[in-house]
Subunit: 396 residues, 2 copies
């Protein structure tokens, strides 16, 4: 008899965005003349850069030419793209990586959840709270969460690390030592970013405890302040403890094109049950060549076009546009007397709501009074209650 | 301390293709004037159809246009493509499917291995022997294989179902009842396909035992004989027991573009530990929306272009070309006195080697004497020993 993975029954329904969408629709039906300003969206709105489009079209033509056609590519991605990443994203910041430490994929969401295939179910997991929900949900499916506790909206085996106003959105080192630590910086949803010293604290902690850090820096391109690291590998010793996830989605508008990459340094090791050291880089290579078949050649050509003088200029212009939106939103809510976080090194603005106001209450009021739709903070974790996310992508 | 998934250590190294490539390279170095005819390749060689290229280029242009740009698409795939699949691939054969039973992905390899996320580790797995190695390897990683036994080249907990000359490459119903049954038809590597009655036997068996069938029909477009089912859903009741995997890879030359789809009928159920019935369609939807972000809009537009009068004509022409190659290869080896299977409903020709000749011995001889490189049958499972695969894709 076919038995399902019972962990799926332990997932909480993702009602957040369906409720948000229903509320917006109801509002629009009642106010047919008002246009809702949608700042709930976590998706880019500006089109692809000209350079990227032109390169992809050339690649399409090649695929139609019997002498240039390309079938299966390397599961790890084409070297022409991996070389560019090594050069432009890392070497330019003084970080030396080998091209075989870069793995191209069709999305950071896939990588950050598929990476769990490599690790034992018994690892203890710590996540920031609030944070991008995929970290939690993929661990629920993978059987690492323990049961859901309705009373506190938490899973019993997950270590929640509050990232809130009181600790300036920098999680404290947890009392119980986790084996897997998710850090998202710049953070979705709080829009805040970890400074060098804060990141160093985590790297040292992971080294001391033989933990691994999953470092999600999908929003690094939005960093504007000089003292914020773009990569965890800017911290000495991080190669021994951290995997870094990056994406072209927000950086280059690839949400609908699908390209990302994951860095797994050769120094990074895990332990077998017998205590043998195992190279994580090699495991991921084996996982990907067994369960994945690489990213579209056309897509990879498009991604490589970002790493040209003209392409880079074009994506920087789009990012600057989004960050100008962020500034406008920030200032508007500061004027109105709110405490406002984020929006400086990330495209997300995180409002602290007045004492006692729930994030859903605020959602309703903001929609009703100003025709603005955002995202209730509680949708990103229990410590998101009392906060509200506004996205800089929604205005174009 | 970070603990790895020890099942990875249980994987046997995939030496096959690296040894094949090394032997070819050595031969080429020794015979610089001889061109090796590479019939080992499982990858297409003809370029994409004109229609597909043109549609993808249009889609690239849209992605560069602020008014037409598309960000995140539906995780399940765009309806424009799913509707075409329902209409052209199923309704045309009398099979009624709902558009929500189709899930677009970036590859059948991904789907056929990721699908295991939905099922408990304790399910008993049966695979054909020989067969596409991903079924086995993904189950080793997932912890369903038991230990590897060097003596018989088998994993202890896997049910191997020999598909050999003696049973006309139709596996017998296994004595021990499996929960998960992989059927690949037309088969890679044997090139043989299951007939209606044979498939019905398996559907009835699965219904009787509440087993599930993973039906891989990635090569269905190569079927030329009228009595061979293209879909398992041609068999009554199959919707209650089978998931069907299909791909644009071999059908439309998408190995480098990456698009496939999986059909999960709403009738298909699994059981929780408590014995509750759970809809597999809903579980997969949840899995994909948690761990996947859909396929490139450009790719999906290209795939949809296959389902036009002109597109269909173009891909049929390519398939006919490959099948003409298959015929040539078949006839050549029949003339030489070999027993030859496959090559009629699949792009693979499967040679039965003379008694006592190993598939590696034959590899060496064929390369040395005729400059032809194929694939030793033993690379697809222990029952592949004494056989040899030749691919019809290698000549263009």
């Amino acid at each position: 008899m076919i038995k399902i993975n019972d962990n799926f029954l332990n997932l909480q329904e993702g009602y957040l965005f369906s409720i948000v969408n229903k509320k917006i629709k109801d509002f629009e039906d009642q106010h047919p003349n008002k246009k809702v300003i949608k700042l709930g969206i976590g998706d880019v709105t500006l089109p692809l850069c000209k350079n990227v489009v032109e390169e992809m079209k050339k690649a399409c033509d090649e695929m139609g030419d019997i002498n240039k056609f390309k079938g299966y590519g390397p599961e790890q991605g084409y070297e022409f793209l991996r070389n560019k990443i090594v050069e432009w994203d890392y070497k330019s910041r003084g970080i030396e990586l080998d091209v075989n430490e870069i793995f191209i994929s069709d999305g950071a969401k896939c990588d950050v959840s598929n990476i769990l295939d490599l690790f034992d179910t018994n690892n203890k997991v710590a996540i920031q709270d609030p944070v991008y929900p995929v970290y939690l949900d993929s661990n629920v499916i993978g059987g690492r969460s323990g049961n859901y506790n309705k009373g506190n909206d938490k899973y019993n085996n997950i270590i929640y690390m509050p990232s809130i106003e009181e600790n300036e959105f920098v999680p404290d080192l947890p009392k119980e030592v986790p084996d897997i630590i998710y850090l998202c910086s710049p953070n979705n949803p709080t829009g805040t970013a970890l400074k060098y010293e804060e990141l160093k604290k985590w790297v040292d902690y992971a080294k001391e405890n033989k933990s691994i850090i999953f470092y999600d820096s999908a929003y690094e391109a939005f960093i504007t302040q000089k003292d914020i690291p773009h990569s965890i590998y800017e911290v000495d010793g991080a190669k021994e403890v951290a995997i870094e996830f990056r994406s072209f989605s927000k950086t280059a508008g690839f949400t609908g094109v699908r390209c990302a990459y994951t860095v797994i340094p050769k120094e990074l090791i895990g332990y077998s049950k017998k205590g043998e050291k195992v190279l994580i880089n090699k495991l991921w290579g084996r996982r990907q060549s067994t369960k994945f078949n690489g990213v579209s050649y056309i897509t990879q050509r498009g991604a490589a076009a970002v790493y040209t003088e003209e392409g880079y200029k074009q994506i920087k212009r789009n990012i600057a546009f989004y960050m100008e939106n962020a500034k406008t939103i920030r200032e508007r809510f500061i004027e109105k007397g709110y405490k406002v976080y984020g929006g400086i090194n990330a495209p997300y603005i995180w409002l602290k709501l007045p004492e006692g106001k729930s994030s859903w209450q605020f959602f309703d009021e903001l929609l009703e009074e100003e025709g603005i739709a955002g995202t209730p903070g509680v949708g990103f974790g229990p410590s998101g209650e009392g906060y509200f996310r506004l996205s800089a992508f929604g205005i174009k």
